[in-house]
Structures are given as C-alpha cells and as structure tokens.
Amino acid sequence: MRNTWKIARWEILRNLTNKQFLIGLLITPLIMGLFIVVPALLERLNQPVATTYYLVDDLGVKDTLQALLPENIILEQAESGADLERLVQDTKASGYFVLTSDFITSGQVDLVYSDRNSQSMNAVSRGLTALLQQLRLNLSGVSPQELAFVTAPAQVRQVPLKEELEPQVMHLAVAGVFTMLIFFLIFTSGTMLMQSALQEKRDRMAEVVLSSVTPNALMQGKILGHFLLGLIQLGFWLALGLPIAIAFLDFPILEALKAVNLPVILLFGLGGYLLFSALFVGLGATMEDLQSAGNAQGLVIMLPMLAFLFLGPVMTNPDGSIAVFASIFPFTSSVIMMLRSGLGAVPLWQMLLSAGLLLITAFITMRISAKIFRVGMLMYGKNATPKEIMRWLRYKEN
C-alpha cells in the first residue's frame, strides 16, 4: 500500500508539473465556460433593437396596432402617395406596409422590408393578425373583452399522482450536469491512465519500476493517482466555475446543489471510475502507442460512450425497461443511474443490484487488467493481439 501511494504521488506530481496537464486544466473550464458564458452574453446582446416601420394608415388604426406590437417596434405614419421606398432608405427604417380598406375583407398586406429581421417581421405579422381579428369582430359587434375570452389558451397544469414523483427540474438539471462532469472526468482520467501506461512503456521505465514494486502496486498506484488528479481537477473547476455560473446563469445553483443525491453520485461515480480506469490501464499495457490502436482496442476505448446511446430513451421514459436495463448493465450503469436518480426516485432494489453489479464488474476487470498489465508492460514494439492477451490471462502469477 505504501508503494501504491508512492506511485500515486509520483503520477500526481508528474502531471501537476507537466505543462500539457496544466494547460488542459485551464483550457477545459475555459472552453466549458465559453459554452455557458457566450450564449448568455449573446442573449443579453440580443436585446431586441428598436425597429421602425412606416405605415400608410387608411383605416386609422395606427394606435390600436401599436398597442398590439412589442415595444421595440415603432410605427411611423406615412402620407399616402409619398415615396415610401425613399423614405425607408433615408431613415434606415426596416420597411413599410399599407393598410387599405381592403384589409378587413381580404386580410392581405404586403410587408415590404429593407432588412430581413424575421423577429420583428413575425411580431408585425402577429400584431396585424390580432388587429384583423379585432376589426372583423368589431364589424359583427363583439367587444375586445369577449374576443380575449374566446381566444385565451387552455391552462394545463401537469400534476403527478403522488407527491414524491413531482418532476424536479432542478434535480434533473443538476444531476445532468454532474453526470456529464463525472463522465467527462472518467473519460479523461481513463485516457490519461492509458497514456500513462503507454508512456511507461515508451520511456522503457516499466522494468525499472517493477524492480522496486509489484505490478499490482504500480497499477493501483496509477489508478489511485489519477483518481486524486481527477478530484483535483474537479475541485479546481468547481472553484473556478461555480462563481462564474452563478454570475451568468439565471438559475438557483446553490439551491440546486443542496438537492443533489450525493451518495448516489459518489457511489456510481466511483464505481464507474474504478471500472473504466481498470479497463483503460489494462488496455494501455497492450498497446505500443495510441495511433496504432487496433480495432478491438478502439472498441474498448469507445465503451464508456455506450451510455449515450441510452440517454434519449432514459430521458423520455425514466422507468421504462430500457432505462432499467441501462441503469443495471455495468458498462452503462454509472452514468445512467446518476441521471435516473435526478429524474425521480429509483426503486431501491434496482439501485442495490446496479451498485453490486458495478462493483463486482469493476473488481473482476481489475483482476483481469492486472494480469494483462504485468505482461503487457514488458512488451515492446508492437500491439498485442486478442489471442496473445488471452494467453497472458492464463499465465500463472508469482
């Protein structure tokens, strides 16, 4: 265990003093931050600009129409017979339209535009529709109040049968973010572990290190080291990201954090990490370099992605049989169970079965990987074939 710890410490120090790692540590939240901040900023910048439309108002409805339009759309009266095109161009208005007495019967208007601002044009269209309805109802003697009453949409409230099943948007959002974050960590840590095993081979250090520690200690040290590195990354990102998210997102994040089902996230996050880290470190030991990964190895690298196939079905029907299967199957359960626990209560038996299976699978994978690791680390110059790997599994241990 002491040796495991020494290896872990070396892995951590080696990465923390490595430029690439540090750049990644900074760049990743920067990129993620951009995804949060830029849309929010754009949203703010995208405040509707005042747009002006000229109106030749034969019906005398300018004020009525103006009241039906959003504030940023300004109607300007124009004399009939004026050079409307000129006027629009000179004043940099957005367009013009003419309301003649025909409008009430035909409902037809030509909205002539100078710049195609679909947002304001749609607003004008909606305003004109409402105006048309009013005008026509006026003709048949219906009051605006009656009109509003008739055209009001139904107000549907979605009420769950039982109190605890109430859809918790907050839970879902936070579970979703955490699931993504933990998945991201599992995937990056797994890839880093694989590279660490590859590097050990590339730098021909495996034998030297193995003359001081057992292969198991080396493997466990790497897994522990990258787990702690992952936590450091997570802590760093949260410390950096939370204030930014709170400042820019219109969302009660601190409230939502309290609602997180922490034990489930910890248990399944850890289980998923153990499973995939064991898988990746063993995989690294079978390869010469990342570029030359064979088909079988490529498939294993994609294995953590499997959970994403189930995201759609799970979101639409969190208690359906696909969701239940995906939250119990060990190679998808870590991600899916974290997500499901955010979507609503998961039956205890499923939770226990899934956790048990995940941990057992992680344990078995560790054992298999340890066997592959101890042989693979000393193999130089080529990728191992599946046949060779099968043979390694049969080698006896010391």
Partner: protein, 317 residues
C-alpha cells in the same frame, strides 16, 4: 553462504523453452558474468531473478546473513534492465529521488547520494534538466546511478556496457568493482567478452537456454582452452607438426604462426621440441580468450553445447 542462488529455473513460452534448468550462485563480494549470444536467454534469466516473469520451474533465493529472504528483497536489489529509459519529460534529480523513494531511502539521504553520483559522472549541472536533454550515454549513467543509489546488496545489470564509449566503459567497470568490493553480489550479463574477461570473477556461459560452462575464469580456460603458441620467425620456415602434441598449426600472417596444442600438453615441453636452428623473432604462450571459447561454443551450435554439457565439469566453482 550469502548471495543469490538460482536453482534449476526453466521458462517456456509456448513451445519454445527459453531457459532450461539453469542453476548458479552469485556470491557477495564477487562479480558473476552471464555470457551468451543474443537470444541465449540472458535477459529472461535476469527477469526471472527480478520476479518480473515467473519461472515455470526452479527457484531463485536471496540469502543474506543467517536469514533466507522471503520473495524478492526489493530494497536490496539494484537492477539495470536491458531496455533502457527514463521518463523523458521528468527532471533528472526528481527521477533519481522517485526511484530511491521506491527503495525506501530517506529523502535527504537520497538527495545527497543522487548528487554524489551525478558529480561522479560529471552530470551535476544536469540535475535540474529534463531527461530529454541528456545524450544516450548520459542517460545510461543516470540509470546506472538509479540502480545502485540505494546501496543494494544484490546488483543485477543487463548488458551494462552496451552503447558506452571506452572512457565511460572504464568508469562503469570501476564502479562495478567498487560495488563488489563493498560486499554486493554483482550479476551482469554481456556479450562483450573482453570486458567480462577483465571484470568478472566467475562466468556463466549460456547457449540456447542451457548452461554451457560455468566457473572461475582460469579453470574454464584450463578446461576448454588448450595452450596456443604464437611464433614469429624469419622467412617461410618449415615448422614441424607433431600430431601427438599439436592439434593445429595456423598461419596468421607472413612469418607468424600459431600452434594450438592438444589438451594437457605442457607448453614448455612443446617449445623444447622446436628445431634448435629456428630463427625466432618472438614467441608467446597464451590461453584462448573467452571470446574464442564463446565463439567456438556459439558456432558449434546446440550439438556442441550438449556435447560440452555431457562432460563432467569437475569442481570449478
């Protein structure tokens, strides 16, 4: 007796037996050279000693003082593998400290010794440099330092001299001698006979996974190398060939000849039989070098190796 005991280790990969029933003893304070051509099984033997691969049969025992150690005494072993390398992007001193830490050397002490070794090899200004800035020879010195920094009782060096320039070779030889005289049991593998011949107290010659010869150098030479007598003489003298005593007469050069005597023929006795009027410029008596024995065995192929094995080796050790 203290030291490393290897007893009948065998390793088979698939249908190929890479190491076949090899036994030897590396005594403390001595240097044992493991010799053999490429692919003879040297590295596999060393890896089995290091516990990196497990022998199918046989045992490896480290004995020190009265205690026989359980398993591999990681802290007391220094190992320089054949495949050399260091973490490229790490700093020299940090690697030395990390590896010494794995051997449980206290940090302060490890640092002092690391700097001492770097000074010894003239690399002190590289302590804070990254490994990728080192030349190949420099990196090999750092690796050597890493292997012996913790003052191991057992030192296992796989081809320690390969890739070194002559000056560095001398440096390594001196350090290896110093390790042995400080009481370590040194086991080194090599295919460079001349170095082994100078350095090792005992040798173990292996071919195709089997022991061919072992023992101290003089008794091996006595056993496998009959005397050879080189003569330089005037003109193309007609040298006599007494097949009773002489196995072969080789012409080395214009006026230079080599008699290879039959086994057990005393060289001085043979010299007396040379014609009295022979005009000799120079005459030397020597045993064959290890190189000659090695080549003979290696070229002789498996049948030769088996033939040698059948012979009683007597008490060589």
């Amino acid at each position: 007796m203290d030291g490393l005991y290897v007893e009948g280790i065998t390793k088979t990969y698939g249908s190929v037996t890479v190491v076949n029933g090899v036994s030897f003893h590396a005594a403390q304070g001595k240097i044992l050279g493991l010799l053999g051509p490429n692919g003879a099984g040297k590295t596999t033997i060393l890896r089995m000693i290091m516990g990196i691969t497990a022998p199918d049969r046989g045992s490896v025992v480290f004995r020190q003082g009265s205690s026989q150690m359980e398993g591999i005494p990681f802290r007391d072993i220094g190992y320089l593998p054949e495949e050399r390398g260091l973490y490229r992007e790490a700093r020299v001193l940090n690697i030395l400290l990390f590896l010494a830490g794995l051997k449980d050397v206290p940090k302060q002490e490890a640092k002092e010794r690391a700097l001492m070794w770097l000074r010894k090899f003239g690399l002190e200004e590289y302590a804070q440099k990254k490994v990728e800035q080192l030349s190949k020879g420099m990196a090999q010195k750092v690796q050597f330092a890493a292997a012996v920094l913790h003052k191991p009782k057992f030192v296992v060096l796989d081809e320690p001299f390969s890739g070194l320039d002559p000056v560095s070779q001398e440096q390594f030889k001196a350090e290896i001698r110093a390790l042995a005289s400080s009481g370590a049991a040194v086991l080194l593998s090599s295919h460079q006979m001349n170095i082994v011949e100078e350095l090792c107290d005992e040798i173990f010659l292996i071919y195709k996974g089997r022991e061919v010869v072992k023992g101290d150098l003089q008794s091996i030479k006595a056993r496998y190398g009959s005397f050879r007598i080189d003569i330089s003489c005037a003109g193309d003298s007609n040298l006599p060939i007494d097949t009773e005593q002489v196995e072969a007469l080789e012409k080395l050069d214009q006026g230079r000849y080599r008699y290879i005597l039959r086994e057990g023929v005393p060289p001085l006795e043979f010299v007396r039989t040379l014609p009295a009027d022979l005009e000799i410029h120079a005459l030397s008596i020597s045993r064959p070098s290890l190189h000659d024995i090695f080549v003979r065995v290696a070229q002789g192929g498996a049948s030769h190796a088996e033939h040698l094995e059948d012979r009683p080796l007597g008490n060589l050790a």
